[in-house]
Subunit: 201 residues, 2 copies
């Protein structure tokens, strides 16, 4: 529908996740109708962010600095590593203020059919980091999806000899969730992992 | 949640229509994880489009050239003007290949309570264009909303002495629509404007 630079802008916007043709057209028109300064600010902040951010050479996190803020922070316990799928997960965990160890970003989950093996998830780097820092606990904070489970099984097996403790995030009913709408897999798991209320208070 | 350049990017993305906090975070992370070239292309096409596009001095359309492709095209009948709310509407109408006249973009609809009067919708420019081109028909292609109706009433009244023919787009049931889900206002109007099937074929 659009032509020239507008078509080009639409095409580039459509590459973003969740943005279809109609949305891309709407966004493109908004950007053109917007005051020039704000639109240029957007263009500039994309450029600056893309050109500045890099993968931390220690943990693979996308960061403005290398090493990243967590790897270079002496107040963080580097003998605990929390393994996450991507950088965004780190922000989610940081938001809880419940964790003070370091992180390791896989950037993907194992999926042999898609050609994603141990090399694609930076497994060697994780092994090196564990031996270098004499890590006492590896927390596998991956989604309990098919790929997540595959990856956690792989990591648990391969890392067993390198560290004493390998844990994964608890699974069960989500707070605020409704048993009626819970999948039977989740419910079976929640039954199996039920805990004593008096003990765990 | 984000910091530094990433937070800046999130903030600038959140200004776009239909993009909330969560979407902005997701887009920002996608842009950083994306290959650098594509992300820079997006930034660049925003910048280029914003810096190149301008309002056509004849019809107010957002265009790469001034006058725009329609105003400078001798094959278009400039004695018919189609009045639209914004540039995007022009593209929608062009897509139908059913119209070969010129356009005039109001960029807004009358809304006295929001301080949008005849000056804000470029009314003087429309009047000048009509007398200059000796326009024989003005088509009011505005939405049948409250503001649209107000604007069409205003234009019909004010332009009556300047041109012979002032038309507006037909109103009625939309093709593919279901009478059951049609508003009663639409239905009343469709009854009132019903037409003879034999005559109109």
């Amino acid at each position: 529908m659009f032509q020239g630079l507008l078509a080009e802008l639409e095409k580039n916007l459509k590459r973003l996740p969740g943005i279809g043709s109609k949305s891309a057209q709407r966004l493109a028109m908004f950007i053109l109708n917007d005051d020039k300064a704000s639109a240029l600010k957007l263009a500039n902040s994309i450029k600056e962010a893309v050109e500045t951010y890099t993968h931390c050479s220690v943990c693979n996190m996308l960061s403005e600095t290398d090493p990243c803020e967590f790897c270079s922070d002496d107040n963080r316990d580097n003998q605990i590593i929390c393994v996450v799928e991507n950088t965004q997960d780190i922000y989610l965990i940081e938001n809880t203020h419940a964790y003070n160890g370091t992180y390791y970003v896989l950037n993907d989950l194992l999926s042999p059919l898609d050609g994603i093996g141990p090399e694609q998830i930076n497994f060697a780097g994780l092994q090196q980091l564990i031996s270098k820092n004499k890590v006492s606990e590896v927390i596998l904070a991956l989604s309990p999806s098919t790929e997540g489970e595959t990856t956690m099984n792989f990591l648990a097996e391969e890392l067993a000899s390198q560290t004493d403790k390998i844990t994964r995030l608890s699974t069960g009913l989500p707070f605020g969730g409704d048993i009626e709408y819970t999948s039977s897999l989740t419910l079976i798991n929640a039954f199996k992992r039920r805990y004593n209320v008096k003990e765990n208070g």
